[in-house]
Structures are given as structure tokens and as C-alpha cells.
């Protein structure tokens, strides 16, 4: 697409260069006195035809080059997002959302400018400047040397300005980011400010940052404000030089008045390519910087790779000698854990905060990768299964119940899209979210807002449970996903859960021994180690952590 665009650009430039030649001929005719009006008319008509051609050429290069730049931008954005989708969660944990967003906005803009406008002004600048210089020096060697004097100065200025502008606008940009970060922080901490009635302090702090930003911007304005007037000044200077040197040539009879007018036109045509040269360098530099930032993301390896096995994911879950640590961490989150969950059994996991419960269940659908040869489903290492079938077969309800800003219905049906009202009703009943239906102004079609912020914590968690329930996976895992639900509702949901899932593998992380007692057996985790396992009855007999918890909760159960 670039090639036709460049052809259009060259046609446009050639046309623009030819017009002063036409005016020159016309003026010389007029100056000579004896001329036919038809001859001038012919020139005028040629000019009009040429102007249409130029307009078409201009549209053409914008269409082709501008369009290509937009398409390149769009394609790159697609590639980047598709790559990001394959990167594991720990890639995201290391980065701020705003920072990742900037790759899609600012950096894409910079790349588009480098692919579009920079190319145009580069080709345009070189072509126009070269030809105008050739015309000037070949046709008017006597004065050309003098009148082009300001142009090297101009080019030099634009280059120098470009550097200073780049530096200062970077400072301004940083000031702006600092300002945004500060506002963000002030609004996040607004409760603290109100509690201590220090709103005024926040405003003062903001005013300081604002002043800093202002002074940085003013220092940019001092340069930027000089830029265009200076360009005007220099182009005026060339006219002045022409008037002096060219005027004397006309008087001496070595230059025709038409030539004088033509040179005047050429000079004005030369201003923009010269400026463009300066911008081009700036655009290209920025584009290259942005490209390398995006490249950094694209080079990140999707470390969790899909296995090749096409086998359906089912069977017993077996964990053999599993140890795992976070990248860069010294201590192990899980150490030497082994157990087997026969197919169709339900298992409870109990343990303190930080004992490794979440880490363990996150490893099964390979949200984080277990070491090879540690986790098996149906006798096959989870790493050998295809990622998509694996994750479709292992349903995991996360601790943090993230909802999308869609309707409740769409959130519940997230996994599959189309579903009947009965399926929704069934899923809603399962998580007991149907009891809150009357509070939703538009029923299941109520929008939940950004990240579900219009719902309460408990409502969000229950929608998330319905969402996972509908996928009806071989293995379903609840990762302590009922923390915001009161304990009565929690035990009710879990009771129902175990009933409906009878005959299929289920894992429940919970701290309620009453709930766990309904599972086939229980794993107790302490500091990343499996300290005990067995059915409820067995665990309450043996001395240990599980029995302590059970005793504490027993009193309450009796009271029911």
C-alpha cells in the first residue's frame, strides 16, 4: 500500500513544482507586453487541470499512506493483545494496568506517526528540496547561492529545536504522569483525608505539583512559541534576499520578472519540507522507542505452553512430591506435597492464611505452572494436556471474584454465551444469588458496573460461583470464594454444592469443619506442608490442628 501512496506523493510534488513554472511563463508574457490572451488562458487552464491532479494526488497519498499507517497500528494492537492473552498471570502481577494500557495508546500513536507522517515528510522533504535546489541552481545560478542561505540555518534550527523540544516535552510528559498519579492517589485515599479533615493539604500538595507542571510547560512554550515565528522570519528573510539580489539582477536585465515571481514561489514551497525534516527525525525516534517498548512485551515468552495430548481430561488427581516457590522468592510456598484424589470424590482443604491452599489449587489448571512430573490427572501429567481442554475440565472459582461490566446474565453465562432461562435459574439457585433477584432493578439484565462495583461483595462471589457452575467441569474447585457471604449462606451453598456434584471430583477450600465434614476426605495444610489428611471422623479423633478448629466450631453447631 505504500508504493501507490508514494507515487501519489511524487505526482503531487511534481505538480506543485510545475505551477511556479507556469506562473513564470505567464508573468514573462505579461512583462514582455505583446502577448495573446489565449496563450495566458491556455496556461490558466493547464493550471486548473494540474490543481485537480494535485488534489487527487494529495488525497491519494493520504488514502494510501495514512490508511496503511492506521492498518499497521491496528494490526500491531491486535497482535499485542493476542500475545498478552497467552501470558501467565505473573506477567500481569509485575506490571501496572495503566502502564500496560500505555502500550496500546501512546506507543501505538507514536508508531503510527513514524509509519505515516514520518514517511510522508521524509519522501516529500527529500524530493521537494532536491528538485527545488536543482531548479534554482540550474535556472538561476546567479542568485541561488544567496537566497538559499537561510535554509541550512533553518534545517539546523529545526534539528536543534527538535532535540530541545523532545527533551522538554519529555519533562512535561513526566510532570503530567506525576500529576495523574497524585490525583489517583488522592481519590483513593479520600477517606483518610476526610477523616483527618486534611482535604486542604491534598489540594496544597496538588497545587505544588500543578505549579511544577506549569513551569515545565512554560519552558516548553518558550521554545515552541519561538518555533513558528522563526520559520516565518527565515522564509521572509529569503524573500528579502531575493528582493535585494534578484532585484538587482532584474534591473541589470539578467533575470526576467517572471523568473523573479517563480523564485518567490519556489522559496515558499521550500519552507515546509525543511520543517518536515526536523519533525521526521523526532517522529522516527519516538516511534523506535515505542516499538522497543512494545517489543519487550511481544518478546515475553508465554511460559505456560499447551501440551500436545488430545485425550479428554478426566480421572484421578494425583500429586507427587510437589514443591513450588514464587519466582525470585527464597521460601517455598508448597513443599513436598503428595496425595491422590480418586475420580468422583470430594475433597476439602483447610489451612491458615498463607499456608499455600490457593497456590496448590492454582497449579491444577496450570494458571501457574507446576514442576514437571508433580501433578497428574488420569495418570497423565497436566503439562501434557492441551491448555484449553485442561482449563475447560478444571473449573476454578477464584478468591477474587472479578466480574465483567456486562449484565448479571452475561456474567453467569460467561463461559458459553447462549443459555436458556432454565439454565440461568438453575445456576442462580445453586449459588443462592436468586434470592437477591428482587434487588436488581432490571432482573438478570441488570448491568453490574465496572468490575461489578454495583454489587455487594457477597453478591459478586455468588455470581462468580454460578458462572463456574454452568461450565459443569469434570473437576470443580472453590478457592475460599465465600469470604464475603455470611456463614449460614456459606454452609448452605456448600451443602448444595456437594449434593449436586455427587459422583464428580470437587475440591473445596474452607475453614468450616462443619462443611468439610461432608467431603470424602480432607487435606490439612500448615506452612506449605501437608500436615494431615483423612476423612473428617478420622481427623477429629487425632490430636492436631484440625481437631482444635473443630472443637472451637463445635459449640456453635450444637447451638443451631
Amino acid at each position: 500500500m505504500y508504493f501507490p501512496g508514494l507515487i501519489c506523493l511524487v505526482v503531487t510534488d511534481a505538480g506543485q513544482l510545475y505551477i511556479p513554472q507556469l506562473t513564470k511563463t505567464a508573468i514573462d508574457m505579461v512583462a514582455s507586453g505583446g502577448f495573446l490572451l489565449e496563450a495566458v488562458l491556455r496556461i490558466a487552464v493547464i493550471m486548473i487541470i494540474l490543481s485537480v491532479l494535485i488534489a487527487a494526488g494529495r488525497f491519494g497519498w493520504r488514502f494510501f499512506i495514512g490508511g496503511s499507517a492506521r492498518k499497521i497500528e491496528s494490526g500491531l494492537r491486535e497482535e499485542l493483545f493476542s500475545h498478552l492473552l497467552r501470558l501467565p498471570p505473573d506477567f500481569y502481577e509485575k506490571r501496572k494496568t495503566g502502564d500496560m494500557m500505555a502500550r496500546f495508546t501512546n506507543d501505538m500513536n507514536a508508531i503510527r506517526m513514524a509509519c505515516g507522517m514520518a514517511v510522508v515528510s521524509l519522501v516529500d522533504g527529500i524530493f521537494m528540496a532536491a528538485f527545488i535546489f536543482i531548479i534554482l541552481f540550474s535556472q538561476y545560478p546567479l542568485i541561488a547561492g544567496w537566497i538559499v542561505l537561510p535554509f541550512p540555518v533553518l534545517a539546523f534550527l529545526v534539528l536543534g529545536f527538535g532535540r530541545i523540544l523532545g527533551r522538554r516535552s519529555k519533562l512535561v510528559q513526566e510532570g503530567f504522569s506525576a500529576l495523574s498519579a497524585m490525583v489517583q492517589e488522592i481519590f483513593s485515599g479520600v477517606r483518610v483525608l476526610k477523616t483527618f479533615t486534611r482535604e486542604g493539604w491534598a489540594v496544597e500538595k496538588f497545587a505544588d505539583a500543578n505549579n511544577e507542571y506549569l513551569s515545565r510547560t512554560m519552558s516548553l512554550v518558550r521554545i515552541w512559541g519561538l518555533f513558528f515565528p522563526l520559520i516565518n522570519f527565515l522564509s521572509g528573510l529569503t524573500a528579502l534576499l531575493l528582493l535585494w539580489f534578484g532585484g538587482r539582477e532584474v534591473i541589470a536585465g539578467t533575470l526576467s520578472p517572471g523568473d523573479f515571481a517563480a523564485v518567490l514561489s519556489y522559496l515558499s514551497l521550500l519552507v515546509w519540507p525543511m520543517m518536515g525534516a526536523g519533525f521526521t527525525i523526532n517522529w522516527l525516534e519516538r516511534g523506535a522507542a515505542s516499538l522497543s517498548r512494545i517489543g519487550e512485551f511481544l518478546d515475553a515468552e508465554p511460559s505456560i505452553k499447551s501440551g500436545l495430548s488430545e485425550q479428554p481430561v478426566s480421572g484421578a488427581i494425583e500429586v507427587r512430591g510437589l514443591s513450588s516457590r514464587w519466582p525470585g522468592a527464597a521460601e517455598e510456598v508448597l513443599s513436598d506435597i503428595s496425595f491422590t484424589i480418586p475420580e468422583g470424590k470430594s475433597v476439602g482443604i483447610l489451612g491458615r492464611t498463607g499456608s499455600g491452599k490457593s497456590s496448590l489449587v492454582n497449579l491444577i489448571p496450570r494458571l501457574y505452572d507446576p514442576p514437571p512430573g508433580t501433578i497428574f490427572i488420569g495418570g497423565r501429567d497436566v503439562r501434557e494436556y492441551g491448555l484449553e481442554p485442561l482449563r475447560r475440565s478444571v473449573g476454578l472459582v477464584l478468591q477474587d471474584s472479578f466480574l465483567f461490566s456486562q449484565t448479571i446474565k452475561q456474567n453467569i453465562g460467561y463461559a458459553d454465551g447462549d443459555l436458556s432461562d432454565e439454565m440461568i435459574a438453575d445456576a442462580a439457585e445453586f449459588s443462592t444469588i436468586d434470592r437477591d433477584l428482587k434487588n436488581f432493578p432490571f432482573g438478570w439484565d441488570t448491568m453490574v458496573g465496572e468490575r461489578g462495583h454495583t454489587l455487594s461483595g457477597g453478591q459478586k462471589q455468588r455470581v462468580a460461583i454460578s458462572r463456574a457452575y454452568l461450565t459443569d467441569p469434570e473437576i470443580l474447585i472453590f478457592d475460599d470464594c465465600l469470604s464475603a457471604v455470611d456463614s449460614e449462606t456459606e454452609s448452605e451453598i456448600l451443602r448444595q454444592f456437594l449434593e449436586k456434584r455427587k459422583g464428580r471430583t470437587s475440591i473445596i477450600i474452607s475453614n468450616r469443619t462443619g462443611t468439610l465434614s461432608h467431603t470424602d476426605f480432607i487435606l490439612v495444610l500448615e506452612d506449605g506442608r501437608l500436615s494431615a489428611s483423612g476423612p473428617h471422623e478420622q481427623l477429629i479423633e487425632a490430636k492436631g490442628f484440625y481437631r482444635d478448629i473443630y472443637k472451637l466450631q463445635q459449640a456453635e453447631d450444637e447451638r443451631r
Binding site: 488514502f63 490508511g67 476526610k194 483527618f196 482535604e199 528582493l243
Partner: protein
């Protein structure tokens, strides 16, 4: 899409925006004078060249000395133009930036003054965008559009004047070429406006999509929904591409057409000029001057397309900014007539306030009452623990006592006075409702304790000692001046907690309401909190919304809240003996908390 309400009343927004220009009247006036000077200088250049060509170069006899004089005048004009243009741009930018600063501070102040229920209902991101990006576009409007528009108008009028001065007939011909250009411009305005709105919509849709799906990546991966997510993204992306392209086409048609009009009028001028010259009524110099002037005449029209984009976004930004600025949702300063003199000393020296809730009803949302007639009192210096199930309304009590929300009915008295009679500042200086989910600002520990108030070094170290923060500070290289990163993540949870305690102790409220963190807390933090908490409560009337055993046992009295009502109250042993809700809750909740 919420970012796409550009159909508001534009003249109205323009009027409001121009109002902000008032304090800069002087800047605008001087800038305008500079503008006139610069434009005149710019216009005089072709006139001077024409004059020189006609009378010095083509004159009989040619006048080299006159040519020299003209060159000197030209040089002066160029310098004058340079200086005046710079001055004009500089002054208008200064005004634009000044307005930006005023508007930003005004917006922040206004927004911070709104009630928590209002602020909680709006995503932080959208508030940030109002104060940063939207204000920025408004500033750009002032610095680069307002004067340029005036200038362009001025230049076009000036050029037209010069054209008429030079030759009336040619000037009329030039004017005749204008209507097509004007029609093109008007058409462009409409089309560009539509295209702009579509692009804005596309951009905000894709940004919202990206930020949401980047945050929710885990859910996407858990459900293996990468393919469909990608398909949705591609759909958004293609929509954006096509609206970007159609915006580009609008611009790609407009500018070449204007340039074409310019060349066509040039051709007409040459033809008719030649005719007039042949008839002996037009000099060659005038013809040459015309060639230059035509370009100058069309140049402002070409520029219009860029200014139009800036103006569009400034109007859209202005609309959103004013919408925020004109929303009022505050806790009113005094909702009752205030008896004289209470704002200065609410409580006598050395005394602490007693607190009373009398039949307080409250609902965050209509029809969903949270408190249904709560009555209790806390005596001077007493520590009351409030316990209850999630959703029983415990945190609401803190929100009401500090007037983050106003009770729907009933009355809350502090030191015997209805809190609605007190100035908000006095109330909040007296009653501090502190959440244990610590929020720290990036900056030094000192800044986080002081929050801009002036404490002496002794006061600070006393507060740090009392909160048991001093041992932590000793371990840090810079002590109080240790720099915290965003959210204080370079300290442990327990250390952050102690800073928050020191903050409260330094600010020394007469009464404290502490809303304990619900989330499970690790043992190290628990230990640190134990040490600080006792000192924090000492010598203050306090309400603690309790989630931990240790806090409850420290309390003088316990209040059990159950679905918006007071169920029981009394000491721990009394309540355990009563074998009611408390004893069941005690076993359930604190057993569960592990």
C-alpha cells in the same frame, strides 16, 4: 458511551470557558495587540515587495538606493513580526496554562468536598481523567485555538483589504472563488464532527475493553475464553480502525480541496490579471503581489481543520468538566440551626466526649435499611466494642458518627450536642473514624503522619513511641524521612499499621472509632497491632468495630448488632452467661478466624 456526550449546548460551554479568561484580560489585550502587529507585518511584506518591484526594479529608471531602503524596511518588518508573534503565543499560552491550573485546583477542591457516597459511586479513573486529560484539552484550546482563530479571521480580512487596495476588479474575482471553499468548509465541519464522535466512541470502547480484560486476565484464562475474548477485541479494534479511516478520509478530502481552490483562484487571477495588464490598467508588481497574497488568503482555511479537532475535544472535555463541577452532593455544613459558640470548644480541656445514638435509622439505598432504630450510648472515656455478622451495620455506625453520611432519622449526639449542629471540621477533629485498611500516600513517613499539619519533633517522636513505631523507624535508614512507595508497599502490613496508629495519636482526636480490618491478618502483624492498639485507645472515648478476640477483651462493654438492631449489650462474661447471640457469634466467628 459516557465519554461521548458532545451534543451538549456548545455556545453554553464556550461561554463558561470564556468566563475563565477574565482574570487574564490584560494578557489577552496585549496578546491581541501583538497579534495585530504581527499580522500587519506579515501582510505588509507582499505589499512592500510589490511596491519595490513596480517602482524600484521595474521603474524607469530603476532605483537601487530605493531597493536598499525597501530591504531595510522589510528586515524591520520581519523582526517586528518575529517578536510580536512570539509575544502573542507566549502570552496566550501563559493564560491557557493559568486557566488550566485554576480549573484543576477548583475541580479537585470541589470533588474532594463531595460526600463519600458520591465519590464511592464513581470510578476513580474517570475522576482522574476529568482533572487531567479533559482540563488539558481546554488549556490547548485557549493557547492554540482562540487567538489563531482571531488571527486567521484578521489575516483573511486584512488580505482582502490589501487585495481591494491593490486592485478592486481582481479582488472581486478572488471573492467569487470563495463560496465553493466556504461550502467545502461547512460540509467538512459537519462531517469532521461526526467522524470525531465516532472515533472518540471507538477509542473509549477499546480502552475500556483493554483495561477491563487486562485486570480480569485470570478469569479469562481460568475459563479458557482467550479465543472469544480475542474475537471481541478484534471486533472493537476493527470498529475503531474503520472510524479512524473514515475520519482520515474526511481530512484527506478537505485539505486537498482547499489547496485546489487556492490554485484555481491563482489561475483565474493570472488570466484576468493578464487581461487587465494588457488593457493597461494593472501593473506587473500588483500581479506578482497577488500571487503571494492568494496563498496567504487560503492558508488560514487550511489550518482550520486542525483547530477544529482541538475545538471539538475542548468542547467535549469542557462539558465533562462542568458536569463534574456543577454536581453538588455534599454533607451540608450545618443542617440544623447552630447555637452560637460551639465551633470553638466542643469539650472542655481534659475531658472526653460522651456519645449517644438515639433511635437512628439509615439506608444507603432506598428500601434497603441498614440501621433500623439503633440506640446506645458510650460514656466519657469508655471503650465500646461492636460485634455482629457481616452486613449487620457495624461500619455504618462509624460512617454516621463522623458524618460521612447523615442518618435518615433519629439523632446522634456528641458531648450532648446533635452532630448536625456542629461545623463539620470541628466534628471530624473531635471524632476520627479510622479504618484499619491502612491507606498511605507515597512520600515520607513523616508526611504520612503529619498529613500537612505542623507537629514538633517532640510530638512526632512521642506519637511514634506511643504507637510502638519507634523500633521500626530505628531499623530504617532515614527514620521518619523514609520514603514510601505507592501504597506503602515497601513496608510490611504490620509496619504500615503502626504508621497509621502513630498518625491517629499525633492528630489526637478526643474520640476514636476504629473499624478493624476484616481480612485475615498474619501473626507478625497481629503482634505489632497488639502493642499499638492499647496505647491508641488509652484516654479516649472509643468505639471499636471488632473482628478480633483481643480487641473485644480489652473493651469495657460489648454491643451486639444484628440486622440493623441492637441485640444485646454488656460485658464479655455477662454476655457469655446470657448464652444468646453473642456467645454463638463468639464461637462461630472467632473460631473461624483461626
Amino acid at each position: 458511551m459516557k465519554d461521548d456526550r458532545t451534543n451538549g449546548n456548545k455556545p453554553e460551554i464556550m461561554k463558561k470557558l470564556l468566563f475563565y479568561l477574565r482574570p487574564y484580560r490584560f494578557y489577552v489585550a496585549v496578546s491581541f495587540v501583538s497579534l495585530v502587529v504581527a499580522s500587519l507585518a506579515e501582510l505588509l511584506v507582499p505589499v512592500l515587495i510589490q511596491h519595490s518591484v513596480d517602482s524600484n526594479i521595474l521603474g524607469t529608471p530603476p532605483n537601487i538606493a530605493g531597493l536598499g531602503t525597501d530591504c531595510l524596511i522589510l528586515l524591520t518588518l520581519l523582526f517586528l513580526g518575529l517578536g510580536a508573534s512570539f509575544f502573542q503565543i507566549y502570552l496566550m499560552s501563559a493564560a491557557g496554562l493559568g486557566i488550566m491550573k485554576t480549573l484543576r485546583i477548583q475541580l479537585l477542591e470541589h470533588t474532594l468536598g463531595q460526600s463519600l457516597s458520591y465519590l464511592g459511586g464513581r470510578p476513580v479513573g474517570s475522576l482522574v481523567t476529568r482533572i487531567t486529560n479533559d482540563v488539558e484539552t481546554i488549556s490547548e484550546f485557549f493557547s492554540s485555538v482562540v487567538m489563531t482563530l482571531i488571527k486567521n479571521f484578521f489575516v483573511m480580512a486584512g488580505v482582502l483589504g490589501v487585495l481591494f487596495y491593490l486592485d478592486k476588479r481582481l479582488a472581486l474575482i478572488t471573492i467569487l472563488t470563495l463560496p465553493p471553499a466556504i461550502i467545502i468548509t461547512l460540509l467538512f465541519r459537519v462531517r469532521a464532527g461526526d467522524a470525531y464522535r465516532r472515533v472518540r466512541k471507538g477509542v473509549s470502547a477499546i480502552n475500556a475493553f483493554l483495561s477491563e480484560h487486562i485486570s480480569g486476565i485470570k478469569v479469562i484464562q481460568v475459563f479458557a475464553r482467550e479465543k472469544r475474548t480475542m474475537a471481541e477485541f478484534v471486533e472493537n479494534n476493527n470498529k475503531l480502525l474503520s472510524s479512524n479511516l473514515s475520519e482520515m478520509y474526511v481530512f484527506a478530502v478537505f485539505r486537498p480541496l482547499i489547496a485546489m481552490s487556492s490554485t484555481i483562484s491563482l489561475a483565474l487571477i493570472i488570466y484576468f490579471g493578464a487581461g487587465l495588464n494588457q488593457a493597461g490598467v494593472l501593473s506587473l508588481g500588483v500581479l506578482i503581489a497577488y500571487l503571494d497574497l492568494i496563498r496567504k488568503f487560503y492558508h488560514p482555511l487550511q489550518q482550520l481543520s486542525e483547530q477544529f479537532s482541538i475545538m471539538q475535544s475542548a468542547m467535549a472535555g469542557g462539558e465533562r468538566v462542568f458536569e463534574l463541577l456543577e454536581t453538588e452532593d455534599r454533607i451540608s455544613e450545618y443542617s440544623r440551626d447552630r447555637p452560637a459558640g460551639v465551633d470553638f470548644c466542643l469539650i472542655a480541656e481534659g475531658r472526653q466526649p460522651a456519645v449517644e445514638f438515639a433511635d437512628v435509622h439509615f439506608a444507603y439505598k432506598e428500601g434497603e435499611p441498614v440501621l433500623k432504630g439503633v440506640s446506645f450510648s458510650v460514656a466519657e472515656g469508655e471503650t465500646l466494642a461492636i460485634v455482629g455478622y457481616t452486613g449487620a451495620g457495624k461500619s455504618t455506625i462509624a460512617n454516621l458518627a463522623a458524618r460521612f453520611y447523615d442518618a435518615d432519622s433519629g439523632c446522634i449526639r456528641i458531648a450532648g450536642r446533635d452532630i448536625r449542629e456542629l461545623p463539620l471540621k470541628t466534628l471530624r477533629r473531635t471524632v476520627q473514624a479510622v479504618q484499619q485498611d491502612v491507606f498511605l500516600f507515597s512520600g515520607t513517613i513523616r508526611e504520612n503522619i503529619c498529613l500537612g499539619r505542623n507537629f514538633t519533633e517532640e510530638e512526632l517522636s512521642a506519637a511514634a513511641d506511643t504507637a510502638r513505631l519507634s523500633p521500626v523507624l530505628e531499623k530504617l535508614e532515614d527514620g521518619l524521612d523514609y520514603h514510601l512507595s505507592e501504597g506503602g508497599t515497601n513496608l510490611s502490613g504490620g509496619q504500615r499499621q503502626l504508621i497509621a496508629f502513630a498518625r491517629v495519636i499525633a492528630h489526637d482526636p478526643a474520640m476514636l472509632i476504629l473499624d478493624e480490618a476484616t481480612a485475615s491478618i498474619d501473626t507478625e502483624t497481629e503482634k505489632l497491632i497488639q502493642t499499638g492498639l492499647g496505647n491508641l485507645l488509652k484516654g479516649r472515648t472509643a468505639i471499636v468495630i471488632a473482628h478480633r478476640l483481643s480487641t473485644i477483651s480489652d473493651a469495657d462493654r460489648i454491643l451486639v448488632l444484628s440486622s440493623g438492631r441492637v441485640a444485646e449489650s454488656g460485658s464479655h462474661s455477662e454476655l457469655m452467661a446470657a448464652d444468646g447471640l453473642y456467645s454463638s457469634l463468639y464461637n462461630l466467628q472467632f473460631g473461624r478466624d483461626l
